[in-house]
Symmetry: C2
Subunit: 429 residues, 2 copies
């Protein structure tokens, strides 16, 4: 990212020096983790470009949208219905949360033993490193975990932009009604802020865009079922991460182009790893940009990641929004879609174990790596029952708890290598 | 507790040897923390007796109730309406959760960095040390924090007795309706299990008993406003802890007798510490029996605890159940009562800061000690805004995070002593 953004970053109130340092570190990490991969699809060039401009060109675009009167809305969670934001001609973006920056600042507000993602979004803001949070007119939080629920109160004191949606704790009919109401209230809020009425017409247009994006991501997911894998887990993860930031229409076009190329690869048996490479499903906590740690460890241990049962993954695109014939019905359908996303924030959440088993089967995964961010209580505790359910289905299960630091990378690599070897040996026997 | 309970404990499936060890440790702790206190009210003898028989005589009573066909219901939270349990002639009891036992067993199911209270209830059960959980026919959980919400799923696998109520995340009208419905459903569940219909009459009788208990606890709270304090914080905490286990009618009688005595003390200026002793309010996470750690540290540091803004404390008895004229209205009133209890599980929860300030003022507290169990995310994070709010009101604030172990007792004592000294010096200046 070039010099010519300095003025923009300054105008956004970023800490230029620290920001320059962050971009340098990110560039190095991207080089060594992504660009060093062998036989990458040509279609990844677009996504490489997007990442290289994630704090540059994309922010220029956002600020242009802002100038044109569009609402910029930051979100943290797949339960927030993107359709509503698009219906009022707003722009939906994920906020920076995937790196260990500004922790010292963050720990003045939240406890040290808070999950890395929460410390991440606090830290990015407090250290002046997130152009997204600065560009946003509104930040939509949700009550999916204690950490976020309580941290949003403080984040609102700091940013004055936070609006929290209440997700219920159970997938019950009454919980669903509460959530329908929350979606309606968000619609009103967005209408008030933009002066734009939410209509059947603009909802349909929005739904078309978002569903098209989801379909493209589903297409990518389906292509990963092939052996040899036509794309690395790292690259697929990146595409999923970018789906939260990029312009949805452009993203969909580019992703479909990538999928066209991957189809050709599949037809010609061209893959990123030899046929027969051990195939793993990753399941658990979300991985925000630039959290590529686990995929990087797995794919340098002789295995390939073929899917993510995660919010940055299947939970984001697995369900489409059903058709509707009125704005009211659209809100109901959005709620129905949400209630089919099986996050550990719900109790009970046994449907998630079905998702893991079904996804493993569909993608020919040979083992499940359960990933919980340290202090991410819902996924950490649910890991116990996930392990029981997955092992009962005869599938190996590796349970990992980690954060963003690289201190435990060696230890994790040893565990992952042993897991991969065990699966490989099992196959031979 | 004597030999003659061995048979009962065996029949409940307790681990006799470990249980004997636990009772010995508890007895020693009680001796050194409680019985060593100077000038205790004579009325505390009853509560000393209750504690000495907490795994003995009280369990005999429960088993007799059980034989008589009464439902024994274990609970963990003040949001569970005791009135409903009493209305079906059931017995409501708190479950063991206040000591660090069975941690090794518990950590096979829940992560090491789970709060001590949750590891406590898992550990007590798994190590065969809780006669309450064994006596219970039903255990009612609630979705007040991620840790409990997710651990209950596992606890149900282990005990097959768990029923979870969904508390909303916000104090909104829609959230209230969800909770009213949860209370109704619990009523149905209790009716089904007992074959007893919930009527206006039995609800009124139940409400009278529980409100009388709450009034007695309010009376105790009000008496602690006097200087010199007529009762130690340790003893008042014990009374509050016992309110969750004891027969409610007998408890109320005995507590009112204690309060009569405390009134005499107030009239004659007789206290447990000299007039002018530094007065502190404790606020935060619940303290289950035998968690006496913080009070013990504070009261051996030259201060007296005059109140608990906590679930084992004001949140349990601060609000009475309003009168009602139909079972339906009773459910609504129970929900209204609940929604007035300001637990950190709600977002936002600013009313709690008002509670802390009002309580401090009513009890003439000179400082607030904020207590969060390690890994109790809601209270740990809310501590930041509590501190801001309390300090803005000109009140000193000390933030403590700890667990049940005594490893940090020395360090905590140093911090508490410094806090007490600071307040004392401030008073002089």
């Amino acid at each position: 990212m070039a010099e010519n953004y300095q003025e923009m970053w300054t105008s956004l109130g970023l800490n230029l020096e620290a920001h320059q340092g962050l971009l340098a570190v990110l560039g190095d990490a991207y080089q060594s983790i992504y660009l060093s991969q062998k036989n990458r699809p040509k279609g990844m060039e677009y996504f490489d470009f997007v990442i290289s401009e994630v704090h540059g060109l994309r922010i220029v675009e956002l600020l242009n949208h802002k100038k044109a009167g569009k609402l910029i809305v930051g979100t943290f969670c797949v339960y927030v219905p993107e359709e509503l934001i698009l219906a009022v001609d707003g722009v939906s973006i994920g906020l920076c949360a995937g790196a260990d920056v500004g922790s010292e600042e963050a720990e003045k507000y939240v406890p040290r033993n808070t999950c890395a993602l929460i410390k991440g979004f606090m830290g990015f803001k407090l250290a002046g490193l997130c152009p997204y949070v600065e560009s946003a007119d509104l930040i939509i939080g949700e009550t999916t975990c204690d950490g976020k629920k309580k941290a949003y109160e403080i984040f609102d004191e700091i940013t004055k932009k936070v609006y929290v949606m209440e997700l219920p704790n159970k997938k019950s009919e009454k919980g669903r009604l509460l959530w329908v109401d929350e979606i309606r209230k968000l619609g009103q809020k967005l209408s008030e802020m933009t002066g734009k009425k939410i209509t059947l017409d603009n909802l349909r247009q929005a739904a078309e865009k978002v569903n098209a994006k989801r379909r493209a991501l589903q297409r990518l997911s389906a292509l990963r079922a092939h052996d040899p894998a036509p794309i690395s887990g790292l690259d697929a993860l990146l595409v999923n991460q970018i789906s939260f930031y990029d312009d949805p229409v452009r993203f969909t076009t580019k992703l479909n182009e990538l999928c066209d190329e991957l189809e050709e690869r599949v037809n010609s048996g061209n893959g990123v790893a030899p046929k027969g490479t051990t195939r793993l499903l990753v399941s658990g906590s979300p991985m925000a940009v630039p959290n590529w740690k686990l995929h990087s460890i797995i794919e340098s241990s002789g295995a390939v990641v073929v899917g993510e049962e995660a919010c940055v993954g299947e939970r984001n695109f697995g369900n489409l929004l059903d058709d509707f014939s009125s704005p009211d019905e659209a809100m109901e359908k959005m709620a129905d879609r949400s209630m089919g996303i099986n996050c550990a924030c719900f109790t009970p959440n046994d449907e998630r174990f079905d998702d893991i088993r079904n996804l493993s089967s569909r993608l020919y995964a040979q083992g499940v790596v359960h990933y919980a961010l340290q202090f991410c209580t819902p996924y950490m505790i649910e890991a116990y029952r996930a392990k029981t359910a997955v092992e009962a289905a005869g599938m190996p299960f590796l349970r990992i708890e980690t954060d963003y630091s690289l201190e435990d990378a060696g230890q994790l690599k040893t565990r992952v290598e042993a897991f991969v070897e065990m699966i490989r040996d099992g196959k031979r026997s």
